[in-house]
Symmetry: C2
Subunit: 189 residues, 2 copies
DNA sequence: GTCTATATTTCGATAGAC
DNA sequence: GTCTATCGAAATATAGAC
């Protein structure tokens, strides 16, 4: 009788995500993952080709979660409000999983082979809002402006780049308001 | 008679910057730097405490160069034009030195101890334009919106995150126009 | 200041028994 | 599928002669 399974691919990926958050990408070693799931390191290679494969799986799972979070924001009646909600949801996600967020948006090496479907699902809500705000013709440019600003803000925040004081939450809300107006072309109150 | 100097701190830092661009931060090993400057690896430790110290020196030199580039843009009569010029200069710098740019704006580990003076000089032009456009009261928030957008755009571009087609240069120009309007509150033509 | 030699450590990955 | 044992490859950093 063969040895019964003592772990699973799911458990390995989840352990990897946990370790990523607690020890960073450098601390995400096969040994650490093995310890956490309760097997010896060589056993991991029965379910994962190599470390790069594991990193890809973790990235994919993270993008999937992000997609669900953004989809959960849903489409309301006001695209301006939707954009604000999406922006806040993105930032909240980044605060929950800073290392995972960085892995997705600032990959040190090309993760290559990310699920296009998963990726598309995550981007869709932003594209929709961008089209509603700026018009179909400018949808892509608008989406890129939104994404660039939000991701740039969050990345710098996570990196501790905002060192001149001031309220970071307020700065983010300021950006939401101004970006929204700039894309919709509506005047401020 | 002691052995004459066969290298210098300057040469070491410059070699490090070159290697960073050609081989990435992971390829920036003491061995690689030593090979390039023409000494044996242990000799580097006479001028650099350790690898982290070298990374800090490289980062500092990169920020210094960026500061000079942005300062060279200068202040014209139209802050809107100045902002556009600064944004383009930042992107051009990133294209020239992508790895160095990422090292500065997306540090994998806290470089700690960056020269505050060097950093301030790089940020100053943006702060000035932000204040002129959005007013002193909103200067910091506006500067953060500008920086977040530009850095986010460039970071995603360098990471190859813009995969839905379209013209990237045009998307950047689109962002410049809209962000400028958003901060100045002036209507589009 | 530069060198040779080497200590240390760490990590990814494989071989082969059970 | 899991294990023990181990290989192999890096890379940082130090010791001590010259």
């Amino acid at each position: 009788m063969p040895t019964p399974d003592r772990t699973s691919l799911e458990a390995i990926v989840q352990a990897g995500r946990d370790i990523l958050e607690s020890a960073g990408v450098a601390g995400l070693t096969m040994q650490a993952v093995a310890d956490r799931v309760g097997v010896r390191a060589p056993s991991l290679y029965k379910r994962v080709r190599d470390r790069a494969d594991l990193l890809r799986l973790i990235t994919d799972a993270t993008v999937h979660d992000l997609g669900e979070r953004l989809a959960a924001v849903g489409a309301g009646t006001d695209p301006r409000r939707d954009l604000a909600d999406l922006a806040r949801a993105l930032r909240a996600f980044a605060h929950d999983r800073p290392k995972g967020y960085q892995l997705v948006f600032t990959p040190s090496s090309d993760p290559g082979g990310l699920s296009a479907e998963t990726l598309g699902r995550a981007v869709a809500p932003v594209m929709r809002v961008a089209a509603e705000l700026a018009g179909e013709h400018h949808a892509l440019d608008a989406a890129r402006t939104i994404t660039a600003w939000a991701n740039g803000f969050i990345s710098m925040e996570l990196a501790g780049a905002f060192q001149l004081g001031g309220d970071i939450d307020e700065a983010y809300e300021f950006g939401i308001v101004r970006i929204t107006e700039a894309l919709s072309g509506r005047p401020r109150n």
